[in-house]
């Protein structure tokens, strides 16, 4: 028998009992809809949780501190180049972002023609510029060049505000604030357009000169001509506070500045430049715990969102399991409904099935007819269930959070409201496959019964 004819026979018998078929399908609709909606609520919660945690930092990132020590240690383990290499080669590590802060080196910064704009200290950090964006820093202006050479700097969002204008006697400082016309105040100069100078100073002389106002001659400095290639967007840089007032240079150049400082100040026993912080990017949040464990084994104090995430996830998982269980019950009831309907229809069609057998219909084909019937009920129910779920999900997302008083869970600090219910495409597929499968499974028993019906039944006259 051709498969198309088997399907045709199945459809015919479903169509003949329209109302009953419809009611059975309705059971599956409710069951599959319940499951999809429950899972979508769970996914919504998961999503909200991730956003919630992201407000405190990237979930993929482990931060290693070079100046914090763990219990039992007498001093912190320094972040060394050697260990950075080890961490770099760990599985699942896809990015590293060490931060070398030149805070003690008192690097001064000037900008503009004749070094008109000055700043006594700049917060200079040595970084890996190629990983800047991966670690959540966003640029407001400019872009990171592929070959980030030693002459490039990246300014924090407000770095340029903290310069004073040497040409002015009054109002020679500024700060970011809103102007009467609603726009933001501008700094004195645009760093992207002016030449930027970095100075490594003789500490004592510099401070002295500065106090007397001899800005021109302050310090006995090594000078570096720099070009600013980008300005960071601090609000959207994942809570990295250096994005406000930092000055980022390449790690190599930071080392050069460090050595230069030691030379100028005649520091003989200079230690390795201190890397205050190392951020590690892990490919998948599920691997964070594993990588963190390995890094901790090196003796470092680490910090990540992992433990917070895991405890929240654990709570969510049990809630989701409960919701899912409730939904599963309704689908189970629907499955019983299918079996029941099919058994009834077999009673009614005993004679018909017998006739088909006498006329030479193969047993296999009879089984297939019933399985397809059941699968159709399951599939149609699943399909309608998915559509209904989309509608319910839409209503939830539109009105749900305020109606249920859940705004605090689904609203971010910046006002965005997250969806309560999420139906990704894979869920649609899973729902369809699952409900069809439930149909087929509930059809097995009736199909076997149909197969067992004796061909004689057809001939016996009632």
């Amino acid at each position: 028998m051709r498969i198309i004819d088997i399907i045709g026979m199945s459809f015919k018998s479903l169509w003949r009992r329209k109302v009953r078929t419809l009611l059975t399908v309705l059971g599956v609709v409710i069951g599959s809809c319940a499951i999809v909606v429950m899972i979508s609520l769970g996914l919504g919660m998961d999503n909200a949780m991730k956003y919630y945690l992201k407000q405190f930092g990237d979930l993929n990132v482990i931060t290693v501190y070079g100046n914090v020590w763990m219990e039992g240690q007498s001093e912190p383990t320094k972040i060394t180049q050697e260990n950075i290499e080890i961490i770099k080669n760990m599985n699942n590590v896809t990015g590293l972002f060490p931060k070398m802060a030149l805070n003690d080196q008192m690097i001064s910064v000037c900008a503009g023609r004749g070094n008109r704009y000055r700043r006594m200290y700049g917060e200079v950090y040595g970084i890996y510029p190629e990983y800047l964006e991966k670690f959540g820093y966003k640029l407001k202006e400019g872009e990171i060049p592929e070959n980030f050479n030693s002459n490039y700097v990246i300014f924090g969002e407000q770095t340029a505000y903290n310069f004073f204008d040497t040409k002015k006697k009054r109002n020679n400082t500024t700060y970011p604030h809103e102007l009467p016309d609603g726009t933001m105040s501008e700094p004195f100069f645009n760093p992207m357009e002016e030449q930027i100078m970095l100075y490594v100073n003789n500490q004592n002389k510099y401070v002295e000169d500065y106090m007397w106002g001899h800005y021109e001659s302050a310090g006995k400095s090594n000078e570096y001509k720099m070009t600013c290639v980008g300005i960071l967007d601090a609000q959207n840089s994942g809570g990295n506070w250096e994005a406000f007032d930092g000055i980022f240079v390449s790690m190599d150049f930071a080392n050069e500045l460090f050595n230069s400082y030691n030379k100028v100040n005649k520091i003989k026993d200079a230690k390795e430049p201190e890397i205050s912080e190392l951020k590690i990017y892990v490919d998948n949040i599920d691997n964070v715990a594993k990588v963190q464990e390995q890094v901790e084994a090196l003796g470092y104090y680490c910090d990540s969102m992992e433990s917070a995430r895991q405890s929240m996830q654990g709570q969510l998982a049990s809630l989701e399991a409960m919701l899912g269980g409730l939904a599963a019950i309704s689908l189970f009831v629907a499955a019983i409904g299918i079996t029941n309907t099919m058994i009834m229809s077999i009673y009614e069609r005993t004679r018909e099935i017998g006739v088909m057998k006498v006329l030479g219909c193969k047993i296999k084909n009879i089984r297939e007819m019933f399985l397809i019937e059941a699968a159709c009920i399951g599939f149609t129910g699943g399909m309608a269930g998915v559509i209904l779920s989309y509608i319910i999900s839409f209503i939830f997302n539109k009105f749900g959070s305020s109606m249920l008083g859940l705004d605090y869970m689904y609203q971010l600090n910046d006002g965005t409201v997250l969806p309560i219910s999420l139906i990704p495409f894979w869920l649609v597929l899973v729902a369809l496959v699952f409900s069809t499968l439930v149909g087929v499974l509930s059809g097995f028993y009736p199909a076997n019964r149909a197969v067992k019906i004796s061909a004689l039944e057809a001939i016996k006259n009632e």
């Binding site: 051709r2 015919k12 057998k357 006498v358 006329l359 030479g360 219909c361 296999k364 057809a458």
Partner: protein
């Protein structure tokens, strides 16, 4: 070797402690193309015999061979395949599927065989014309009279030209006149295609259509003889059925047959 060979076939039904011997050691040979009537009173075991020939019921003892194949030793699966390609069945109560029209009902055995719709429907229409139902192609069983339904049943049984056709009281639900028409058609068509027909009845009048009459009493063959009155009773007037039969005789000529007997 005969086409159908029945050897010491025995069927015993057990009802609790009681034994009912429905068939008692029946042996019988039927040749290809023979029209064989199994005649007997109610409860004599005719239907049991027929069902066992068709492989619908298991034998207690003995064997049935059709075209050299041992039916009694076949599994359900093999039997289904055997029936599909070797047998046709005409029922007393027609047993047409109510959800299908005449053409679909007739085409059903071909559908089971995997014949494509266009081809099987064409053949079914041809069969329906042959039994004089060209006006009733797309009627449902409920929209047809008993005689018409049985003609659909005949078309269905014969559509794949099975070597053996079984008919258990095919006219049991019909009046005398319709019985005659239906019998004429069946017998004519079986003869035309050289099909073996096993016809079960308790009615002596119907037995007259057969080549051979096997009389069964209490599960035993009481007599087995060729039909002497092979010529059916003389018809009084030319009925519609005879028109159909004529058209069957010279089927090349297209003849319009109106069927208004029912």
């Amino acid at each position: 070797m005969s086409f159908i060979e029945v050897d010491k076939l025995r069927k015993v039904y057990r009802l609790g402690n009681e034994k009912v011997v429905a068939l008692d050691s029946i042996s019988l040979n039927i040749e290809k193309g023979e029209i064989c009537c199994i005649l007997g009173t109610s409860g004599s075991g005719k239907s049991t015999f027929l069902n066992m020939l068709a492989g619908l019921e298991k034998a207690t003892k003995g064997s049935v061979r059709i075209a050299g194949k041992n039916i009694t030793a076949m599994t359900e699966k093999q039997l289904a395949e055997f029936r599909q390609s070797n047998t046709g069945f005409i029922f007393q109560s027609y047993n047409l599927l109510p959800s299908m029209d005449a053409v679909e009902n007739v085409a059903m055995p071909l559908m089971f065989k995997g014949v494509k719709p266009a081809e099987r429907n064409r053949k079914a229409e041809k069969m329906l014309k042959a039994v004089g139902l060209s006006e009733r192609m797309h009627h449902r069983p409920t929209q047809m009279s008993g005689g018409q339904q049985q003609r659909v049943g005949i078309a269905r049984a014969l559509i794949s030209k099975p070597p053996v056709v079984f008919a258990d009281e095919p006219t049991g639900n019909l009046d005398t006149k319709t019985t005659a028409e239906v019998m004429e058609i069946v017998v004519k068509m079986c003869r035309k295609h050289n099909l073996t027909l096993i016809l079960v009845t308790h009615d002596n009048d119907i037995a007259k259509y057969a080549d051979r009459i096997v009389h069964i009493v209490d599960g035993k063959i009481e007599s087995d003889y060729p039909n002497v009155s092979i010529v059916p009773p003389e018809p009084k007037e030319l009925t519609d059925t005879e028109k159909i039969l004529k058209s069957l005789d010279n089927s090349d000529k297209e003849k319009e047959n109106k069927d208004e007997t029912e």
